[in-house]
């Protein structure tokens, strides 16, 4: 029997009739067509599937659909507001922090969660916050640079209007 789910996705109410054995990642990608969140290792090791669940960054490949009812999910698609990129996304593009791009959605989510909590984190704190997100292209330095640069841009009023 299908499972009826009501949740908030990127600020909008969403309803889906899903296979109950699915994970949140599978629901997002297959039932809600939000394919920005990536399938990586599927075992909680890579961070590619990170989303905000009730404002906390978690791995959507490890969240069972049954436990999503009534909860709020923010995916990488939810970072843009009125078509305008989040300062983090702008800085990732400007500074070459994304190469193949597969890890980028998860990293943007983890970085956003950090900046929402602490608007001016040290480089060590950024490194710690992103320590669950693997990137096989960049060597991480550009990613750390981009998050640091976005702190400045956010401080200059680059925060998006909600």
């Amino acid at each position: 029997m299908k499972l009826r789910l009501n949740l908030s996705v990127n600020g909008e109410p969403a309803e889906a009739l899903v296979d109950p054995d699915k994970t949140l990642l599978e629901v997002l990608r297959e039932d809600l067509q939000l394919t920005g969140t990536k399938h990586g290792c599927e075992l909680g090791e890579c961070g590619a599937c990170a989303v905000l669940l009730d404002d906390q960054p978690v791995l959507s490949c490890l969240v069972v659909s049954h436990e999503c009812e009534g909860r709020s999910v923010v995916t990488v698609e939810g970072l843009t507001v009125d078509g305008r990129l989040h300062p983090l996304q702008e800085c990732f593009a400007d500074l070459g922090a994304s190469q193949c791009g597969y890890c980028t959605p998860g990293i943007l989510i983890a970085a956003k969660a950090l900046l929402d909590r602490d608007p001016n984190p040290s480089r060590d704190l950024i490194r710690e916050a992103l320590s669950g997100n693997l990137c096989r292209c960049t060597g991480y330095q550009q990613i750390l640079d981009a998050v640091q640069a976005s702190i400045v841009r956010l401080g200059e009023g680059g925060e998006q209007k909600k």
């Binding site: 109950p20 054995d21 699915k22 994970t23 599978e26 399938h39 599927e42 075992l43 909680g44 090791e45 961070g47 990170a50 906390q56 960054p57 978690v58 791995l59 490949c61 490890l62 969240v63 069972v64 049954h66 436990e67 983890a110 060590d124 704190l125 710690e128 916050a129 320590s131 669950g132 997100n133």
Partner: protein
């Protein structure tokens, strides 16, 4: 793609309901807390419960109470513990252990109860279904042979919990609740040195609470060896706790992690520390005891003879730190984790 197997999901609101539902079919029902251990294991068909009882709706499990010591609900997330100032101030070894579990994303999900009950790990077990099928499976799941030591009649999978050694060193107890009653056991008695039957928890019991005694006069520390500074299970670890009277130790506990199928206490070493000042010679001989006791097997990361040798240096570092030596440089070098430097 690895899909979850089919299962029936139930979401109790109280521990009593959870215990009653667990008792209906304890053999093929599993408890789901953070999901960071069970869900990957289900995807790889290492654990295939027909019913999953999700505990996240039971609010009493996420409570932390200041009693004589600290009562931590089994559902408290690892992130909450890292951010709990009481844990940092009073139980530093636990804070260091929990802060080095997995990653921030996984700590947001994973719970203290889950880390205590973490399935034992092994190179021949933590693999996809097809990989395990190709070796005709192993003793721990679906097979007969322990591929780590083919003559072994017992599974040698490794205890990989970071929290448990620290909690045992701190003298923690845990509460187990079933439909028929409640019992409180010392955490050390929750474990057995058997990779398959590593918990003495009955299959109809729920671990609900971890209780730490008062921290009065105790100093604790946790040292962990792992391949990556960012994210790995321990391949050798030591938790040490000692209560001092001046520069003499009154009472001490040393617990090794990831070198057996259970957190391994070193009672002889602890006994020899009692009443003594922590001299270099005493530290060296206690580290030798731990080295002798540690029996790492060739079923996790790193070369096993070297892993065994690291136990000696981990114990030495831990005891020197308890003595008051400045071990920050050594800790940072090992952990590659600046936030864990004791300030």
């Amino acid at each position: 793609m690895m899909r979850l197997p089919s299962y029936r999901y139930r979401a109790p609101k109280t521990v009593q309901d959870a215990a009653a539902w667990l008792a209906e079919s304890p053999g093929d029902t599993m408890l789901l807390a953070g999901g960071t251990d069970l869900i990957p294991n289900m995807k790889r068909r290492q654990q295939v419960p027909s019913t999953v009882v999700g505990l996240r709706g039971i609010t009493e499990l996420s409570r932390t109470d200041d009693r004589d010591g600290l009562e931590i609900g089994a559902g408290v997330t690892l992130t909450s513990l890292v951010h709990d100032e009481r844990v940092h101030a009073r139980y530093l070894g636990l804070w260091q252990a929990v802060g080095q579990i997995a990653t921030p994303l996984l700590r947001n999900m994973g719970t203290i109860g889950g880390n205590i009950c973490l399935d034992t790990r092994c190179t021949y077990y933590d693999q996809s279904f097809e990989w395990r099928q190709a070796i005709n499976f192993c003793m721990k799941k679906d097979g007969d042979t322990c591929w780590v030591a083919t003559s072994s009649d017992k599974c040698l999978a490794v205890s990989s919990t970071d929290a448990a050694p620290a909690l045992i060193a701190l003298g923690a107890t845990v509460r187990l609740v079933s439909a028929t009653g409640t019992r409180e056991v010392a955490l050390t008695d929750l474990y057995a040195n058997d990779g398959m039957h590593y918990l003495t928890r009955r299959s109809d019991e729920i671990l609900t609470t971890v209780t730490l005694p008062k921290a009065d006069g105790w100093r604790t520390t946790y040292w962990k060896l792992r391949r990556r500074g960012s994210f790995d299970f321990p391949v050798a670890a030591v938790a040490a706790a000692a209560r001092f009277d001046g520069d003499r130790i009154v009472e001490a506990r040393i617990v090794l992690g990831a070198v057996a199928s259970r957190p391994l206490e070193v009672p002889a070493a602890a006994a020899r520390l009692a009443g003594q000042p922590l001299t270099d010679d005493l530290i060296a001989s206690v580290a030798d005891d731990a080295y002798t006791l540690a029996k790492p097997m060739d079923n996790t990361d790193f070369e096993l003879v070297w892993r065994k040798k690291t136990v000696r240096s981990l114990v030495t570092s831990a005891l020197r730190e308890l003595r008051g030596d400045d071990m920050r440089a050594a800790r940072t070098k090992l952990a590659r984790h600046p936030l864990l430097v004791i300030s």
